[in-house]
């Protein structure tokens, strides 16, 4: 079986990729996708910890289901707001949306 550390490493990489997407991509939708990637990195971590260390507990599985549900809600609300952003500004490029200082 693959050592646990490798899986942790992969999940950390996924998380970092998501964070990088969030920071570098100026498209609001892409940034939201970065957030989703980060959430799923955490899910992978939960599942791996359950499978390797705590197969008797259901905590992690429940947590993963909870996260998937919440992430769906978050994505729905987020996309709706971004849609409205597009209607207001005619773009979803975060660099071009700067009405406020700072």
């Amino acid at each position: 079986m693959v050592p646990f550390a490798w899986i942790i490493l992969v999940s950390i990489l996924l998380f970092a990729l998501g964070a990088i997407a969030l920071i570098t991509r100026r498209n609001a939708v892409a940034a939201l996708m970065g957030v989703e990637l980060m959430l799923n990195a955490a899910n992978l971590n939960f599942v791996a910890a359950w499978r390797y260390y705590y197969p008797d507990h259901l905590d992690a599985q429940v947590a993963v289901l909870l996260v998937i549900t919440i992430a769906a809600a978050e994505a729905a609300v987020g996309l709706a707001i971004i849609l409205n952003l597009y209607r207001r500004f005619g773009t979803v490029d975060l660099d071009q949306i700067r009405l406020m200082r700072g």
């Binding site: 646990f4 942790i8 999940s11 998380f15 998501g18 964070a19 969030l22 609001a28 940034a31 939201l32 970065g34 957030v35 980060m38 959430l39 990195a41 955490a42 899910n43 971590n45 939960f46 791996a48 910890a49 260390y53 705590y54 507990h57 905590d59 992690a60 429940v62 947590a63 909870l66 996260v67 919440i70 809600a73 978050e74 609300v77 987020g78 709706a80 707001i81 971004i82 409205n84 952003l85 207001r88 500004f89 975060l94 949306i97 700067r98 009405l99 406020m100 200082r101 700072g102």
Partner: protein
Amino acid sequence: MTWADLPALYPMLIPAATAVLLLLTLTVRRDARLAAGVAMAGFIAGLLALAASAAELSHPVTMLLTVDRFAVVFWGILLFAGLLVSVFAVGYFRTLREPREEFYLLWLLAVVGAMVMAASAHFAAFFLGLELLSVSLYVLIAYPRMQSRAVEAGVKYLILAGASSAFVLFGMALTYAATGTLTFAELFTHLTLFPGDVLLLGGVVMILVGVGFKLALVPFHFWTPDVYEGAPLPVTAAVATVSKGAAFALLTRLLLGVIQAQPGHSTLAVIFTLLALASMIVGNLLALAQGNLKRLLAYSSIANMGYALTAFIAGGDAARVAIPYFFAGYIVAVLAAFGVMTQLSTPEHELQEVEDYRGLAWRYPWSAALLTVALLSLAGIPLTAGFLGKFFVLTAGMAAGRWTLVVTLVLTSGLGLYYYLRVITALYQAPLEGEQPTPPPLHLPHRLSVLTGLALAVLAALLLLLGVYPSPVLHLLAWP
């Protein structure tokens, strides 16, 4: 969980049920006043239930929640803030030409989320509460969808809060991998037994990033001024009060015990000390240059969270009194300040600049007086709630010998006076002679409603009462 546990949860279940009820009501009849009325009734019923359930305290309700005195006090604060923000919203949104019923629905949900956070004893409850609060807030911030600034603020908050939730979740996953448990109590045991476990510490630090974001502690504060400025005023008040109160209550639940159990120079204590110092210094310094009252209050809230962290780091029995008291004072003052601003604003035209308030005292003396008292309270001047809050924080800090924090608190408070005074000075300045039109005319579109007037009067009374006669509240806070 048994039926016997249920009454303890009524204060939280009632607003949650009210949200459902409101949703059903909206399918039958769309009426903003009715919606606001239902929401307020929900908050009031929650507060009444709280008074009833305060008798039987301090037991875990399932493994997810603990309803102890601390939770009850914070629930009271959150429900009160919820009620007042609804009152402010009624007057504020009256000119909005779009549906405004859903505002109250989302706001009920946000407060329930905050209450879950304040009482949580388990990571699942924590995350659920956090997301319920955050997702509601995304929409609330961007609620006036024709106002570009609000939408911009909403998107900024959406992306950054989403990222911070991801940090919290990843931290939970790491903690779980290290300990195999999701309860706070077990986390405490593991953290005190193995303070050097890298995986565990990494997890806790990532959770801190998320909580720090919600509290706008210094390296995680950059969203605050923009969101404060762009969000509609009642929601700004909500972000400053409910969101922060819930996050701090959670932080206290999660880590106050750990900080106390560990030696004074443990990694966590050092991290918290740095966060507190940075928040106090940066918050106060950046506030100095602000000409926009909303942004100014944003930086002021950053500094105030630094003060609260001082009590948190100090720990001990003093902190258990200081933290809730400080927050009660802070939230009442912030609500009063935003309440006055809200009452003079509409979604289309908010009075944001300090300049807009020049000479307010000579036109609206009562509003100006309340704003003055609120600002003095935030600055920590005696006879106001803010002073006693700061006094208890200082007591806690000194009792624990945290001299760096205490002295920084004192010095930065002195610095902070400058910007509060700048606003107060503007309030009492006569409109300049000769250049009469310069101050934009304050427009009060209609007479102050009885409800808003009552809310503001209650806030004024609380600001002074909490500043002069703290004994009953202290008695309530004698936390087992």
